[in-house]
């Protein structure tokens, strides 16, 4: 439980609130761009990557609770568990260095997407009668027409859209981590220090002379970047 407590400081709790608000607000951008994606978990994945699996899970779960409480999308709470798992996975992937390169981040996104498709399907099937009340229901109908049963059609629909959605989400978060100053990333302490950067210190909390050197290097780099 120690890791649990470590992940819920005042700072990270504030970040969780911001992550939830981002999840909700980014819908506007997706709508304006007219992309066929949900991108409703960028905030969740970002918090998971920065703070850790517990915080990521909390962001996902509470995002869906907030969707329900705003009354804009009251059915969201049914998927709160899936959202929590997405956040937890993002934390675990980030901790083990999967956000270091774009390829690994994309792969992590695909794995998360497949898992979320498999976990969401029973909810859509047994709670909502096999539909989600959106355009993707046409896909479900197509799979049913092709002869799949109710649960399998929902799994198939999910694996059609979720991995791509999570791939884009993870790659967006990867590039944001690249742009975020090292100081901000170190503040939350989940990422290995080198995450998203080609070069930097190797230990998570470097100490002593070596640390000062790497810190200097990092500082130089970020000034050069600008």
């Amino acid at each position: 439980m120690n890791s649990l407590r470590k992940e819920f400081t005042t700072l990270s709790i504030t970040l969780i609130a911001v992550g939830i608000a981002l999840n909700l607000a980014l819908g506007t951008v997706v709508l304006r761009l007219g992309l066929p994606l949900y991108l409703d978990s960028i905030g969740t994945v970002l918090v998971g990557a920065l703070v850790g699996p517990w915080a990521g899970a909390a962001t996902g779960f509470l995002s869906n609770l907030v969707w329900t409480l705003t009354g804009l999308f009251p059915q969201a709470f049914a998927w709160a568990g899936v959202a929590a798992i997405i956040g937890a996975l993002a934390g675990v992937f980030a901790r083990s260095g999967w956000f270091n390169t774009v390829g690994k981040a994309a792969l992590a996104g695909i794995i998360t997407g497949v898992l979320s498709a498999i976990l969401s399907a029973p909810i859509a099937t047994y709670v909502f009668g096999g539909v989600v009340g959106a355009g993707t229901d046409a896909l479900v109908a197509a799979f049913r027409a092709a002869g799949l049963d109710a649960l399998l059609s929902n799994v198939a629909q999910g694996t059609f859209s979720d991995p791509l959605d999570k791939l884009v989400t993870f790659v967006v978060v990867w590039s944001l981590l690249l742009a975020l100053p090292a100081r901000e990333k170190a503040r939350f302490g989940n990422l290995p220090v080198s995450a998203g950067r080609p070069l930097a210190g190797k230990t998570r909390r470097p100490a002593g002379k070596a640390a000062k050197k790497t810190a200097k290097k990092a500082a130089k780099k970020s000034t050069r970047r600008r």
């Binding site: 939830i20 981002l22 509470l62 009354g71 909502f128 009668g129 742009a179 100053p181």
Partner: protein, 259 residues
């Protein structure tokens, strides 16, 4: 999709009820949606309980509109998918090799009615209760105040984030980003659109956290609230009754499923 709440201010008995009484009512709606056997029962509950409550709360129009917006898409999808694919004897019409059956139609509508009861209960709760009052009522009963803080803050700042996203998008468009282009091109625009918003808000976090700490956020002392929620003995009793009814419904359903 604007703003972070569907609460509608009215002075009515429903609005004056203690939030937890309304939560118990919503819980009963969920239990009924899961347990009631058929379409007539579900519709009777909606017309006999939720609708009169909405009328009492002077929310009739808004409530029905919200129900239609949320449940409408489900009705459409469920009718098509269940009607064509859940089997049955009585064929209403045929589309190619797929038969639309009466049994399927009924199954679809029943599912939609279950969603109508459960989501209708939620919508009525949120239309008649300000979110801060709901969270206050929960924290007074031992709900973790930090979670309440996270939920309320997210609801409060999300509209301002939406505004910021809008400003960023306008600014980027003014600089020549082409929104009316191919799909791949628009996908490439995603990063310049969301990047500034996300990075800016993450960097604001430490400032927010400091402001919270300065106001004794992590102090274990009991905090008092300016706002007091009215409660009564009658409401307490009604709450218990509603909770008991919900539990009884679920138990009955479980028992009859095991038979």
């Amino acid at each position: 999709m604007r703003g972070g709440s569907i609460y509608i201010e009215r002075s009515s008995g429903l609005h004056w009820l203690h939030p937890l009484t309304k939560v118990a009512l919503t819980a009963l709606c969920f239990a009924s949606a899961a347990a009631l056997p058929g379409l007539p029962w579900l519709l009777a509950l909606f017309v006999g309980l939720l609708l009169p409550l909405a009328i009492w709360g002077r929310l009739t129009g808004a409530f029905l509109k919200a129900c239609l917006l949320v449940v409408g898409p489900f009705v459409l999808s469920l009718t098509i998918i269940q009607g064509f694919f859940s089997g049955g004897e009585t064929v209403l019409f045929k589309l190619g090799r797929f038969a639309f059956t009466q049994e399927g139609l009924l199954a679809g509508l029943t599912f939609a009615a279950r969603l109508l009861v459960a989501l209708g209960g939620t919508l009525l709760l949120m239309q008649s209760t300000p979110q801060p009052h709901l969270m206050q009522a929960l924290t007074e009963r031992g709900f973790p105040p930090r979670i309440a803080y996270v939920v309320l803050t997210a609801i409060q700042i999300f509209p301002s984030f939406q505004d910021r996203a809008q400003v960023i998008m306008d600014a980027q468009q003014a600089r020549g980003l082409e929104l009316q282009s191919g799909l791949l091109n628009r996908a490439r625009l995603l990063l310049p659109m969301v990047g500034p918003l996300i990075l800016g808000s993450v960097m604001d976090v430490s400032e927010r956290a400091m402001a919270l700490e300065a106001r004794a956020f992590s102090s274990p002392a009991r905090k008092t609230s300016l706002n007091t929620l009215a409660d009564s003995l009658l409401q307490r009793a009604v709450r218990w009754l509603l909770a008991l009814a919900a539990a009884a419904l679920l138990l009955w359903r479980l028992w009859s499923a095991l038979q």
